[in-house]
């Protein structure tokens, strides 16, 4: 069996390798990074069939849990690993041409560290290890947000860093309190010992944790950094940050609520927060003129939708949420990556300057339309089925609260489709005003097209996707994998 620890070790080791050989190899280090992530894709895919019948528990350094550190890979961890590695490798391919300039090896080092952090957060079975991987992810994303080296980039990076560090203070307080109550850091052990802890104390710890992780997951009152960071970062990084970084943080919150704390009574509030997040994001996106800010606010909206679906306290809701994550990763990556080259070619962030751009960049514009259709939820794209499943899951719970929430979600979707159609209209109607705009290079279009294949052909493998998402949901809902550690 391929050891899942390689999913963390390969990008981490390659990041160090790249930074040491950067002087000799100049800008060809990107090919090493690409190979490392390809290996990651293969490992994560080969891992999935194994974890489906039995969760994999990897003991590190020969010391058994609860004392030693372990990795705990269930279906959800494996699916997320696939999402992270596939999105990572495609965005890296896009970066080949998109990232220009001298110190490219720094970009690829940080990119690999970001992948390391994301993989680690999903796979680890130890709360302090989770914090360390969270910091690896956060620190590399702070630097990558400011990578372009312009004023907005630095400003967004400083803002993101300060809010993110406040978040990590809260997470660390939660970990300290967990250790004080249970005397252990192993997730499965905590889950067992928490049964004896008073629920008031557990609630306080959980609130600290949700507040801390919620900063990274961009849950409503904590998301003021996101529009700046996601719109000022290089577009490839925006795609990664929107594509899986916020989702990773969100899924960690959900995992803690369901399995470790087993406090399903907070889910009702979380689903309300999710819908508020959705409406705030969609309404804010409606008034933006900067295309990347539109996409960033739309990410807030989508994260709200995913939070709502996953807080329904049912397996159907969790699996619909997983499907929506797959859809959001693919379609939002398409939109950010296309926007990257439109900004590069026209020199403008305002989408009102893109009049008739579809005549000059036909392939990119077409892919953008596909991404929008799936994000909004038009059949037969993947986004339609995931949104449909969310709504079915919400309505089947049969309570009035969820029905009202579904109406608000549909309202949000209408707003979303209005502002996206406005942008598409500008792309296709009118004569091009800018001179010298040409199609994005092949290396940039190829990964975008591969993302488009996921959302286009998603309905062909829909039963399989549903199956995998369902087993991930069952993992969280029934907590079986927690019992198999010792």
């Amino acid at each position: 069996m391929v050891n899942p620890i390689l999913l963390i070790l390969i990008p981490l080791g390659t990041a160090f390798l790249i930074s040491t050989v950067a002087g000799a190899l100049k800008n060809s280090t990107k090919y090493i990074a690409f190979l490392a992530l390809l290996a990651n894709v293969w490992i994560s895919i080969s891992l999935l069939p194994k974890v489906l019948d039995h969760p994999v528990n990897v003991i590190i350094a020969g010391i058994k849990p609860p004392v030693g550190i372990n990795l705990l890979v269930g279906p959800m961890g494996a699916i997320f690993s696939i999402i992270i590695s596939v999105a990572g490798v495609l965005v890296l391919l896009y970066s080949f041409k998109y990232i220009e300039g001298e110190s490219q090896s720094k970009y690829y080092t940080l990119f690999l560290l970001l992948i390391t952090g994301a993989q680690g957060m999903i796979l680890t079975g130890d709360v302090f290890n989770l914090f360390v991987f969270f910091e690896i992810l956060a620190i590399s994303s702070y630097i990558l947000v400011g990578y372009s080296g312009d004023r907005n980039g630095f400003e967004a990076a400083v803002k993101y860093l300060i809010l993110g560090s406040v978040g990590s203070v809260f997470i660390l307080v939660a970990i300290a309190l967990i250790y004080q109550e249970t005397g252990t850091l192993n997730m499965a052990d905590i889950a067992g010992k928490f049964a004896l802890v008073a629920s008031g104390k557990k609630m306080m710890i959980l609130l600290f944790f949700i507040t801390g992780m919620g900063v990274e997951a961009a849950i409503f009152p904590l998301n003021s950094w996101l529009p700046d960071a996601h719109s000022s970062a290089p577009s490839s990084i925006s795609a990664v940050l929107s594509g899986f970084v916020i989702e990773v943080a969100l899924v960690v919150i959900i995992k803690f609520v369901y399995t470790i704390f087993a406090m399903t009574e907070v889910l009702q509030y979380l689903s309300l927060v999710g819908v508020i997040t959705l409406l705030v994001g969609e309404f804010a996106a409606f008034n933006q003129g900067n295309i990347k800010r539109v996409l960033a606010y739309s990410s807030i909206g989508q994260i709200g939708l995913i939070l709502f679906a996953m807080s329904l306290n049912s397996e159907a809701g969790l699996s619909a949420g997983m499907m929506q994550i797959v859809n959001h990763t693919a379609s939002k990556s398409i939109l950010f990556l296309v926007a990257g080259y439109m900004i590069k070619r026209t020199g403008s962030y305002q989408f009102s300057d893109y009049k008739g751009i579809a005549k000059k960049m036909p392939v990119s514009s077409f892919l953008f339309v596909l991404g929008v259709l799936s994000l909004v939820g038009v059949p037969p794209f993947l986004g339609f089925f995931s949104k449909l499943n969310i709504i079915i899951a919400a309505l089947s719970s049969g309570n009035v609260f969820n029905t009202v929430m579904v109406f608000l979600i549909l309202l949000g979707t209408i707003i979303e489709s209005v502002y996206f159609l406005k942008i598409i209209q500008i792309f296709y109607i009118g004569e091009p005003v800018k001179e010298g705009v040409k199609e994005a290079p092949f290396f940039a279009v190829l990964p975008i097209a591969l993302f488009a294949v996921v959302i286009l052909l998603g309905f062909l493998v829909l039963p399989e996707i549903k199956d995998y998402a369902g087993s991930a949901a069952a993992e969280l809902f029934t907590k079986i994998q927690m019992a198999q550690v010792f």
Partner: protein, 121 residues
């Protein structure tokens, strides 16, 4: 210990005080350097909280230099290992924050967040 003020109380009060003070500074000050100082205070507070979780009244540091010490006479070593990691991470984040602030200062010529108006704060 018969006195009312135990070491645990002191540690808990100090950590909570430092965390609240640090967060207060971050959310009320407009100077970026002061915000980083606030971050440092909050980090220190959390580190003290972490150490205090492993403290056992009357026990000594978990170092095997004195062979006559028994394990039951030592404090819990796990939080101390955690604190080392957390201090290093805090140091890295502060250094990165200051480096980014220097570059931002070169671009804007100010440290006042209300005067940096490129984006909304």
């Amino acid at each position: 210990m018969n006195s009312i003020i135990t070491i645990s109380t002191v540690l808990n009060t100090a950590s909570m005080g430092l965390i609240i003070l640090g967060l207060f500074i971050i959310f009320t000050q407009k100077n970026l350097i002061k915000m980083v100082i606030g971050l440092g205070l909050a980090d220190t507070g959390v580190n003290i909280l972490l150490v205090s979780t492993g403290y056992i009244e009357g026990n000594t540091a978990p170092i095997f230099s004195n062979t006559s010490l028994k394990i039951s006479q030592m404090v819990d070593p796990v939080p101390q290992a955690l604190v080392l990691t957390s201090i290093v991470i805090g140091f890295g984040v502060s250094a990165l924050a200051l480096a980014l602030i220097i570059r931002l200062f070169e671009k804007t010529g100010t440290l006042d967040t209300s005067k940096i108006r490129g984006l909304k704060w």
